[in-house]
């Protein structure tokens, strides 16, 4: 397919479209990490004493931890003292009270990104919390949400306004001792989103957070905490972009979800951090810990992710299925191109009776990239009647990429049933021939085949995200057949 290769190479040169930098006045900490930096960070955020103590405890523990090296990833060691741990747009007074007070430069940035912060967003019907570098800059639709009793705000506000809720749940799902990156996040997390859905409330609209890294040489460490009280339902979307820069930037987030009796949380992510250029220079290092605790009976958590960005992705959204009859779901499409590396998957830990989980993972590797599914399915001794179904498929595009599967399956209960299957294949010449013969051009054909491959996951995404995800995949894959 040499002629095809040529067409392909011409097509590949599509650039990352969110790679611009916003020129805005910012307050940025000097690079480096110490107890002093953490204390200053906590002061700026006017946090209560308990938060500072929690951060310092995490920091001291983090100093003793070692960076994990088990993942199938290759990168130079990160110098944690060359990173700045806080960067925020400069403001004259305190937090803006409404969108009108938000710096217009910032609003322009989000408009460019297509994120509906302004009033016309009403049409979109999505409430957005926008996080710019280290801080949350705007949260929309607070009032209608408040009417329903839903708390949707930045986590900094939550620490000040709802300390009892934060104290009760923060760190219960992902403790600061959990892993190296979660420990670092607990020490220095700068902002993030907090959601509380009270008993029996079905959240009236989709909630969404948009993360944007802008400043150079900074890390972004956000923390998200979502609590769904008994019988409630919430759907939450997350999106991310960053400018194109030559150096690698660090992103180490923590997401904690808590689902009580009969509650349901649907968490969707479209991750499109800057992946680096075609020679593997630059890009975001994405080390994220996401975990859900299904504490309540018949609670349900569903993770859906579309991963197309980042130079390195290290991410395993997990469910701890403790409540009887609780349900965990994981739907993922991970696409790597050029020199991107992804080591991603999920953990389903079945502790309670009759818990069920489903894992559908689709990995697509192109160029010189490496794409790994790494997962754990575990049945504890009390997981009577628990069930898991796992399907992980890989699609290879080009002969210089790698696709790997490392599933761990552990069972301690005889009545638990697990089924795992995995396949690896490529976009076949026959499939291409069939499409081309019918007058479909190369690019369109690949995109059709890949879309078909990912269909099971896309149908789980909320509509507007599904459209975005499909487009994103088209862009990322453009012409990579070989």
């Amino acid at each position: 397919m040499t002629t095809a290769n040529k067409e392909v190479n011409e097509l590949i040169k599509r650039e990352y479209e969110h790679g611009f930098v916003t020129d805005i006045e910012v307050d940025t900490f000097e690079p480096g990490l110490s107890e002093d930096v953490i204390t200053r960070l906590s002061e700026i955020k006017k946090e209560p004493q308990f938060m500072l103590e929690w951060r310092l405890k995490a920091y001291r523990r983090w100093l003793e931890m070692e960076e994990p090296d088990w993942a199938h990833l290759g990168y130079d060691r990160i110098d944690y003292n060359s990173v700045s741990y806080y960067s925020a747009p400069k403001r004259k007074e305190d937090m803006p009270q409404s969108l009108d007070e938000v710096d217009p430069e910032l609003l322009k940035t989000y408009e460019k990104l297509g994120i509906p912060l302004h009033e016309h967003a009403k049409l979109a019907g999505v409430a957005v919390d926008a996080v710019f570098d280290s801080v949350s800059v705007a949260t929309t639709f607070k009032e209608p949400l408040a009417k329903a009793g839903v708390i949707f705000c930045s986590i900094s506000e939550a620490v000040r306004d709802y300390p009892e809720l934060v104290q009760k749940y923060l760190g219960t799902v992902v403790p600061h001792t959990d892993n190296f990156f979660a420990g670092l996040n607990a020490a220095v997390f700068s902002d993030g989103t907090f959601v509380y859905v009270p008993k029996g409330v079905r959240c009236p609209m989709e909630l969404s957070t948009y993360f944007r890294i802008n400043a150079a040489n900074t890390g972004q460490f956000e923390r998200t905490l979502i609590i769904a009280d008994e019988g409630s339902y919430v759907s939450y979307l997350e999106g991310c972009t960053a400018p194109m820069r030559d150096e690698n930037q660090l992103h180490a987030a923590v997401v904690e979800l808590v689902a009580l009796d009969n509650a349901e949380i649907k968490y969707s992510t479209v991750q499109n951090w800057y992946p680096g250029d075609e020679n593997g220079k630059g890009g975001i290092y994405n080390f994220v810990t996401k975990r859900a605790a299904c504490i309540g009976k018949n609670s349900k958590v569903s993770w859906t992710q579309v991963e197309t960005g980042s130079a390195i992705t290290w991410k395993y959204p997990s469910c701890i299925l403790r409540g009887e009859g609780s349900v965990g779901e994981f739907y993922s499409v991970a696409l790597t191109h050029n020199h991107q590396q992804a080591d991603t998957g999920t953990k389903m830990i079945h502790l309670g009776k009759n818990t069920t989980s489903t894992i559908i993972s689709k990995g697509i590797s192109a160029g010189k990239s490496s794409n790994v599914y790494r997962g754990l399915v575990k049945f504890g001794p009390r997981a009577e009647g628990a069930r898991n179904f796992t399907e992980c498929d890989s699609l290879l595009i080009g002969d210089q990429c790698g696709a790997h599967t490392f599933p761990y399956i552990e069972s301690l209960n005889k009545s638990a049933i697990v089924e795992h299957e995995a396949t690896t294949s490529k976009v076949s010449d026959e499939q291409m021939f069939l499409c081309r013969q019918r007058g479909i051009d190369m690019e369109r054909a690949v995109s059709m085949i890949v879309n078909g491959f990912c269909k099971d996951v896309f149908k789980e995404l909320p509509m507007e995200f599904a459209v975005e995800a499909g487009k994103l995949l088209e862009v990322s894959l453009e012409g990579s057949v070989g």
């Binding site: 599933p407 399956i409 638990a416 697990v418 690896t424 490529k426």
Partner: protein, 429 residues
């Protein structure tokens, strides 16, 4: 901070038996020196994650067991036979031909030139980093068997190798086999590991096969040691163009049972088929680690493993398929099914795929579960007792693999031992 790793006790680094040609003694010494800092596997050692807690080596077990004794093999041997006792070949108990085109020799009988040639090839099929204990065998073996098949040679009957340990005192044994199969040669090799005596012993065995173009080797491996035997074994295979390797591993659990099976498909069109059956009961353990490396294009591999764990036992399976960048048109299939008969038991499985070529067909499947209630009901409703129905279905679960064992005598031994297992496993049902 990481605690300092526990190292292999220096007591294990003193080989016994000097009746070997000089080149082999030199090799042994060199491997021994390399093991001085060998860390013992822990829970954090990826390929020993589930099994390190069963490995309990004491200094009393470090000394080599005496090399006399009798054999009590369960196999009625319908072919040629070589008996190893405590890692040393017993010529008086063995019956095997030594032909011009099929040379079967003890390490001790090799000339210096033959030994030098062997030294070049020993350990060539096993990656020392991945199979930590293979190096220990090379540092400690006291004897061994080398089988060399000249081109087109074929042995007319299966060759049985009985590895017996006599555990009348604590100690260890290091049996070693090397098979060099020439172009288009054929051999069926049956290895049986058994034990007598009650003391705690450690067996560390290595068997290697190098297959030249068109060679066809069948290897049957039965692990039937007693409750006092910790056994770490490794089998390494390299395959050239159009060769075929078939393996049938049947394992009964013990305090520690570990088998690493590594196959490298190095020549175009090579093919391997790996079957495995493991049953464990009481507090037994069994761990199978297999790796198939598709190095050359157009190779096929097919792997089927079944585990059954009863009572409070623990079975582990780790199967890895690695497709190298140039291995286009590879076909690889792996299936691992597990039956958990009791809630106190544990099964851990990890079917891995590592793929660097795009034009391949690879699939793996793994399941863990219990006997199907509907099938049980079907049998019971037709007047078959519940216990018998259980036995029938469990037997059916592995019989597909047992019936594929190509030597009848081995099949019979395995089936007899399995019915014993079923009698115990389904006692109180």
């Amino acid at each position: 901070m990481k605690p300092a790793p526990t190292l292999l006790s220096p007591a294990f680094l003193h080989p016994a038996g000097q009746a070997l040609p000089e080149p082999l003694l030199a090799l042994r010494k060199q491997r021994g020196a390399a093991l001085v800092d060998m860390p013992m596997p822990t829970r954090k050692t990826e390929n020993w994650k589930y099994s390190s807690k069963y490995l309990k080596l004491t200094d009393e077990m470090a000394t080599s067991l005496p090399t006399t004794g009798k054999t009590g093999s369960a196999l009625a041997v319908p072919g040629y036979k070589v008996v190893f006792i405590n890692g040393v070949v017993m010529p008086e108990a063995s019956e095997y031909p030594d032909l011009d085109n099929i040379r079967i020799q003890r390490f001790g009988d090799l000339s210096d030139a033959e030994a030098s040639d062997l030294v070049e090839r020993l350990d060539s099929t096993l990656d020392a980093k991945a199979v930590q204990f293979a190096g220990l065998n090379t540092a400690r073996f006291e004897d061994g068997l080398v089988i060399r098949l000249k081109p087109d040679a074929a042995l007319d009957q299966p060759l049985f190798i009985i590895h017996e340990v006599t555990a009348d005192a604590s100690g260890s044994a290091f049996p070693r086999i090397f098979v060099d199969a020439g172009r288009n040669s054929q051999l069926t090799l049956v290895e049986e590991y058994i034990s007598s005596g009650e003391e705690a012993v450690f067996v560390n065995s290595v068997t290697e096969f190098t297959l030249a173009e068109g060679a066809n080797i069948t290897n049957i491996r039965l692990s039937m040691g007693g409750e006092n035997v910790q056994h770490i074994g490794a089998t390494g295979v390299t395959q050239q163009r159009s060769s075929r390797f078939e393996s049938h591993c049947v394992g009964f659990g013990g305090p520690l049972r570990r088998h690493d099976l590594r196959v490298r498909l190095e020549g175009k069109g090579a093919e391997c088929k790996l079957n495995g059956v493991v049953v464990t009961q009481d507090t037994q353990h069994y761990d199978n680690h297999t790796t198939i490396e598709h190095v050359a294009p157009n190779c096929d591999s097919e792997e089927t493993y079944r585990n059954i764990a009863a009572d409070k036992s623990h079975a582990v399976f780790n199967g890895r398929i690695h497709i190298h960048p140039d291995a286009q048109k590879s076909n690889a299939n792996m299936s691992n099914k597990n039956l958990l008969l009791s809630t106190g038991a544990e099964i851990d499985t990890k079917p891995e795929l590592e793929i660097y070529a795009d034009d391949v067909k690879c699939a793996h499947g793994a399941t863990i579960g219990q006997l199907n209630e509907e099938s049980l009901f079907y049998l019971v409703s037709r007047g078959i007792g519940r216990r018998e129905a259980n036995v029938l279905l469990t037997m059916a679960f592995i019989n597909e693999l047992v019936t594929q064992i190509p030597v009848e005598a081995v099949r019979d031994t395995v089936q007899a031992r399995l019915s014993q297992f079923f009698d115990q496993a389904f006692q109180e049902v």
